[in-house]
Symmetry: C2
Subunit: 463 residues, 2 copies
């Protein structure tokens, strides 16, 4: 189907080979007197090929010298041979540079990616080239692997992949942080916005399809300029019927994440680079984290009320949280979340049963009248990466809650409410921020690097 050439990934999976064709980009080159060594990447793996090109004839001096970092080259004929080095168990031997090596794409003398490793601040100044660096290229491969693993997990568990609308008329979360589509009144007959969550539409679909999920973009017009916020991000949202309670949701979430993380760990050699910019977590830290997360046993789970007790104890008796005093009834702040997961539990932790006023209108009320049947999953360094709940399935309670919040005055959500009257089922689900999860697992600390071209409140759109 493709022209028959070897990818780097396929070469490492194969044994020695006599006639190998590869294509890729020169990441670095060392010119010695009688030989040149090339570090070639082709985008399919975090690993590179070491290529040896001997100077078999003085007439080849110039062609050999013309090879430069950044060029795209094609090697039409070479041999993939074992070496005695453990670090580099194979290398590619080229016979004749003139015959076997072709420059497909040259570089200018200003080509900026000259070194083996660049700092992240430097790479971020080159949005159209930065993914050629091994670190950010590997990050995108890692993300792709994560997405593929999620999709496989959902397919195996009989979930239907659905495409809820991006252009919507309702503010699902009630936060009011919406991008508006200009002139939408003229085009769609009413004001329309970019979705903040597919939640409400997924509920309608789950009552038809039983189990459904989507992997699609969401938008938040909040002006938070942090390493955890994007204006445009991807959410994995799942919704299913016949769930019993929140513990079923957290159990599902943990199993799902563990299956994805196991798949990443099993492919660590392809996915995790060895050389990592100093701003990011190093390979040994990442691998240790993945290994720990794969271990059997349940991640800790506490109620919001218990979490507040733990936080207050810390705040009052040990060291106050600098910006916010933890208080029952208030949302957990990012600093609280990070401390709970990163320092207190040193593990992902589920926090369940938040006060109803901290959460969206659609969550199922608990019998205490104060809290709702929900959970957040907090992880070290990042805070919340998943939020889910059972949905209020009782028509009367839902109406009452929406009235209390002064919602649905214009009847926009009548369709949503009516789902509770017509063959409804107990159901629940969650939303997971892909970029936050990827950054947590890959250790890159800034979710703006976890999406190829980020959109955020600060800084213009460069491309």
């Amino acid at each position: 189907m493709f022209r028959s050439y070897h990818t780097v990934r396929a070469l490492y999976d194969s044994g020695p080979h006599k006639f190998v064709e590869v294509n890729g980009w020169i990441q670095s080159i060392r010119h010695l007197k009688r030989i040149a060594f090339i570090d070639l990447r082709d985008g399919t793996s975090t690993r590179s090929l070491k290529i040896a090109i001997p100077l078999v004839d003085q007439s080849l001096t110039e062609p050999l010298k013309s090879l430069k970092t950044g060029q795209c080259i094609s090697i039409s004929q070479a041999e993939w041979v074992p070496t005695p080095q453990r670090e580099q168990p194979f290398e590619l031997r080229v016979g004749n540079v003139l015959r076997d090596v072709q420059i497909l794409g040259n570089v200018t003398s200003q080509y900026p990616l000259q070194k083996k490793s660049h700092s992240l601040p430097f790479l971020r100044t080159l949005p159209h080239l930065k993914h050629r660096s091994n670190y950010l290229g590997s990050l995108l491969r890692f993300r792709s692997h994560v997405e593929h693993a999620f999709i496989q997990f959902f397919a195996q568990n009989e979930f239907i992949k659905v495409a809820p609308p991006l252009i919507t008329s309702s503010d699902c979360e009630g936060g009011g942080e919406l991008f508006k589509v200009e002139d939408s009144e003229n085009y769609f007959g009413r004001s329309a916005y970019l979705t903040v969550s597919a939640q409400l539409h997924l509920e309608a679909l789950s009552l038809a399809l039983n189990r459904c999920y989507t992997l699609s973009p969401s938008f938040r017009a909040e002006k938070s300029d942090t390493n955890r916020h994007l204006s445009e991000f991807w959410m994995l949202e799942a919704e299913w019927c016949f769930a019993k309670d929140v513990s079923e949701l957290t159990h599902f979430t943990q199993n799902m994440l563990r299956s994805v993380i196991k798949s990443c760990y099993d492919n660590k050699n392809e996915l995790i680079p060895r050389i990592i910019p100093q701003e990011s977590e190093q390979a040994s830290t990442i691998l240790q984290r993945l290994e720990n997360l794969c271990k059997d046993g349940n991640w800790p789970s506490v109620t919001y009320t218990e979490a507040i007790d733990i936080l207050r104890d810390q705040h009052v008796n040990v060291k106050p949280f600098p910006n916010y005093e933890p208080q029952w009834g208030s949302a957990l702040q990012s600093e609280h979340e990070k401390w709970l997961a990163g320092e207190y539990f040193q593990s992902p932790v589920f926090v369940t049963d938040y006060p109803k006023d901290c959460k969206a209108f659609y969550m199922k009320h608990n019998d205490d009248g104060q809290t709702v049947a929900c959970f957040d999953l907090l992880v070290p360094g990042m805070g919340e990466i998943v939020g889910g709940s059972m949905r209020e399935n009782d028509y009367t309670k839902l109406i009452k809650e929406m009235d209390r919040r002064q919602m649905n005055h214009n009847g926009d959500l009548d369709w949503y409410v009516s789902l509770r009257q017509e063959g409804s089922a107990p159901h629940g689900g969650f939303g997971l921020g892909i970029e936050r999860l990827v950054s947590y697992l890959y250790g890159n600390r800034n979710i703006r690097d976890a999406i190829p071209f980020h959109r955020a409140a600060t800084g213009t759109i460069e491309l």
Copy 2:
């Protein structure tokens, strides 16, 4: 992970079972004197369960009578037993309605989906309920299966799944049919729009990752009110390096589609309903189509110039096309496309090498100076469903073409052009409209049904 109950799909995959728990929705119910028969669906399959509930005791008359179409019920204990009927080889036998059947979600007396089969125009009046019909529910399962098959194909072929931006500053296709994000200048520092294609960003990524693809929404603010146009639709876009020519692209496209279609055909019993609304193609037609598309052999491929000859011959000698005379240099109209694929070739057909002025600026120029190295895949009934090309990789030629089209005056696309100067590679790819493909394969004829909640130029956003 889930509470242990059987899905309909899993039940049909299993043999006889003594203790079965199922959950689902009553699609129809027949009350006889001493027994009731329920047709139960649970959203996981186009097939339903036949459930027999005997009236073992007169005191159960009322509970049995309270079961109604549309209700969501849970059956906690039943037996899955073989029957002598070939059409319905198994049925579920319930012992006692009071003990074993629980109504999870009741319906009002106005529940609109009473019949076994409804017309599509009627279903479309119920956007929040319509996917509970077997036909539209099956359509969404079919779409999900198609998406999963694509994703599997790309993963197996070492493609990286990427997430290009939805909010962009450039009009990739140059058509000017853009939705604008209101107040984007204030938020992003410049005017921003919803993407019409990820093409340009995918090119940058393919030069880093070798092979990449995305399955993501695109937007077109065109006011076409046809059964082939949506304002918001999903595109599968793929881009890869080291492609040689257009025939490699069409070969790839054909193999990819055949692999997806084979997977649908192999799962036809789960995916294709037997009873289909009369407005749509019937099951026998769909199955025949899928079977034909799976057969070995290449789909026909003609150049645009050859296609125009064929069309002109038809127009002049047989019967004129009512609205447009086919003419070299003009775009193929939908009626031309449909006639070529549907009547002349009666097969999907690749049309290659269109005149450059019919296509976007980024396509590679052929040596004739007139045409570009591109293809469209046309299919019967739907016209174009895939469009692809080799990309102009020559810096000078690209600049010249952009100048000719008076593009890039403000330098917005400098990053794109510079890709040709810094380690570029020959590359190409395509975009495929998911809703058009699904409608073609599933035979539903109107792409508005192929997405759960459609957005189009006419009609307001209902939910």
